[in-house]
């Protein structure tokens, strides 16, 4: 899996504090001072905005939601993007859990109702940058399931709002309870090289359920990441800088080295083991940047995801076996006399 990018915005905010979010796409283009807008920043994690994401304002997210990008042309994610090809993209948010109690209301919510009913507001932001970090390609909304033609009238209820400068697509905000958004993107001319899609999403919680705080930035969930897209027919994306290069499947190589280490240990050839382990990490690794660590950050990728359980298990094992150590000390008494 590659990664994701960031983005999003939801919420709306009538609160007098600065903690407003952007329930409509137009607010991303709004002046920060006079309209409490974003000043043209999509907060999708792109480097040109120093990788700022929606987590700048939607703080303390629990990190439960997931995020994906889909396309009508599979080869976009395998062989790469083709020059001047138009792609129908879909940003999908999974594991929505905030504000879901309001989802059944659909668009029948908000302050236009008496009594007030909260909305399940979610949002996204998407930007595709070239290797220099500059936005590339061209966005158009999806109208009636198809990419809008040049110069066509755009109805007000499309999924995506394209920023005025064309650099990013964000949620339009016409509908509530959305967990996926469609937008079209046309690739640039050949020669642009690897393009990275920065995408982000916010799972809004509907504020505190009252009209006073319908869309503050608290209590929401956020996901973001980046997806590198190679240029079709060009060389694959270069390995990222970091002093080591990937060749083949690094994990398989490491697995083979683990078995080799086992064999050497059995033969008590310890000096060779040290050399082998050094090779194990240097021969098959790549430099993984923070935005590419979405998978690595999941609990299932942690070596000791449950320290309390490990402590109990290690204590039991050490009391019933002749060995101990190596995994971290359980310490503390015997419990076995």
């Amino acid at each position: 899996m590659r990664s994701i990018s960031v983005g999003v915005a939801i919420s709306l905010g009538l609160a007098a504090t600065a903690a407003h979010a952007f329930p409509t796409g137009e607010q991303f283009d709004g002046d920060p001072v006079t309209t409490d807008g974003a000043g043209g920043i999509a907060f999708d994690g792109a480097p040109r905005w120093t990788s700022h994401t929606c987590a700048v304002c939607h703080t303390d997210p629990p990190g439960i939601i997931g995020l994906g990008i889909e396309a009508d042309h599979q080869e976009l994610f395998s062989t790469g993007w083709a020059a001047n090809q138009q792609y129908h993209l879909r940003v999908v948010m999974t594991r929505e859990h905030e504000g879901v109690q309001y989802a059944s209301l659909g668009d029948v919510c908000g302050s236009q109702l008496m009594p007030y009913k909260p909305c399940d507001d979610n949002g996204f932001a998407l930007e595709l940058d070239d290797d220099s970090g500059n936005p590339t390609g061209k966005f158009v909304p999806v109208v009636s399931g198809a990419c809008a033609a040049a110069g066509a009238m755009i109805p007000p209820d499309v999924d995506a709002y394209i920023l005025k400068d064309g650099t990013a697509a964000v949620h339009n905000g016409a509908h509530h309870a959305q967990i996926q958004w469609d937008v079209c993107w046309t690739a640039p001319a050949a020669g642009a090289g690897t393009i990275t899609a920065y995408v982000a999403a916010v799972d809004g919680n509907g504020g505190d359920g009252t009209a006073n705080f319908p869309n503050d930035t608290l209590g929401d969930d956020v996901a973001f990441g980046a997806v590198p897209l190679a240029e079709a027919g060009a060389a694959p994306p270069p390995a990222e800088n970091g002093g080591c290069n990937a060749t083949g499947d690094a994990s398989l190589a490491t697995g083979a080295l683990v078995l080799a280490a086992f064999a050497l240990l059995r033969r008590r050839r310890r000096s060779q083991l040290a050399l082998l382990l050094a090779i194990a990490s240097l021969a098959g690794c790549v430099h993984v940047r923070p935005r590419q660590r979405a998978t690595l950050a999941e609990r299932k990728m942690v070596f000791a995801p449950d320290p309390q359980e490990d402590e109990l298990d290690l204590h039991m094992q050490e009391a019933r076996e002749g060995s101990s150590g190596g995994y971290g000390s359980s310490g503390g008494g015997c419990g076995c006399n």
């Binding site: 889909e70 990441g225 194990a280 690794c285 150590g325 000390s329 015997c334």
Partner: protein, 357 residues
């Protein structure tokens, strides 16, 4: 239109780590161990952790082992055929992060009827290469006092030192590896004050007499572990590790572990795990002693043995902040050279709740 999934990423707190956030958790668990050797251990655990400052966290925990046993150890050496004992353990710890350097320290106090333990630990972790590499070192000192129930005059000490080093390396976006090493030195009383060894002409003969178990007063241990975690597909991962262990008592062991994690739904995760362990005997271990030797033991943990463990665990997100878990392990131990007990089977079941903000 056929849309093809390119990337699905579950972004957890680590991705927003640059932003200061309070992280408070409270964990409550209970685990019940029961085996065919008539031993039951009930272990309740409670622990709490909190970020008290943007770069500082503290933790506090309590654990108890409520032991009821009529194992062959107990039956063969004491007048009572069933023992009841409770171990209480309190831990306190803290850590502080200076940019890419994390410093941690902790203390553990453990007390039971016949055992008192003070353990101090400290460690450093340094992140390198944009957090692709993490190096860690640690030191552990455990000061123990071994007693014997109903014997005020029996008092022995056991000091345990250990140093450890760990190297964690990101291999790629879906793979991470870890290599760790631990060197330990134990000095003091290491036998069981309750265990007596029969001396007899043959293993089938009646004991001529019994002598207290006597182990060496010192022990050097070494253990090295290599592990690999690999994401598989969009909702699962595989973890594998191997430990090599050796000590100057002559024991060499190999441990292979494997775990498979899979998300069954957005709030339900399944873990399957497998562990195989095998060891050789200590150099002074004998299944039968026909005469008294310098070191003499009746400890099956020093005999050749192998074990197999299989476990299932379910983690369920009850709410955004509350998680429940249920686990069950089945295990089997085989003792090829210990006449009183040739095998042991058992279960280890547990349930728990974790509250996290």
């Amino acid at each position: 239109m056929q849309l093809v999934t390119a990337a699905r990423v579950f972004v957890l707190v680590a991705l927003v780590a640059p932003f200061a956030r309070a992280d408070t958790s409270f964990v409550s668990k209970v685990q019940v161990y029961a085996d065919s050797d008539h031993t039951t251990v009930v272990s309740p655990v409670v622990s709490a952790a909190a970020d008290v400052a943007p770069n500082t966290s503290v933790s506090l925990g309590y654990l108890a082992d409520v032991v009821t046993s009529a194992s062959v150890d107990v039956v063969t050496q004491a007048s009572k055929t069933t023992i009841h004992d409770t171990r209480h353990q309190v831990t306190i710890g803290g850590s502080h992060t200076f940019d890419t350097l994390m410093v941690r320290a902790g203390y553990l106090f453990s007390k039971e009827n016949d055992y008192l333990s003070h353990t101090f630990n400290a460690g450093l972790e340094k992140q390198l290469d944009d957090k692709n590499t993490t190096l860690g070192i640690g030191y552990n000192l455990s000061l123990n006092t071994v007693g014997r129930a109903d014997d005020q005059n029996f008092n022995r000490s056991l000091d345990v030192h250990s140093i450890s080093a760990a190297w964690t390396q990101v291999i790629n976006e879906r793979t991470i590896a870890q290599l760790s090493y631990e060197l330990g030195y134990e000095s003091g009383y290491q036998a069981s004050p309750y265990r007596f060894v029969p001396v007899r002409m043959s293993i089938d003969a009646a004991p001529e007499f019994w002598v207290p178990e006597t182990d060496p007063d010192s022990r050097w241990r070494q253990a090295a572990v290599i592990g690999l975690n690999r994401a598989v597909g969009e909702a699962s991962s595989v973890q594998a590790d191997y430990r090599f262990y050796t000590d100057d008592w002559g024991i060499t062991s190999h441990t292979l572990g494997a775990r498979y994690f899979v998300s069954l739904s957005h709030n339900l995760e399944l873990r399957l795990r497998e562990r195989f362990y095998t060891q050789g005997a200590a150099s002074f271990y004998q299944d039968n002693y026909s005469s008294v030797t310098r070191y003499i033991t009746y400890d099956r943990e020093l005999s050749p043995l192998w074990s197999e463990t299989f476990g299932v665990k379910l983690d369920y997100m009850l709410t955004t902040h509350l998680e429940g878990e249920l686990k069950a392990d089945l295990f089997y131990y085989s003792y090829s050279d210990f006449a009183p007990l040739t095998s042991r089977t058992g279960t280890n079941v547990g349930l728990g709740l974790t509250l996290k903000y």
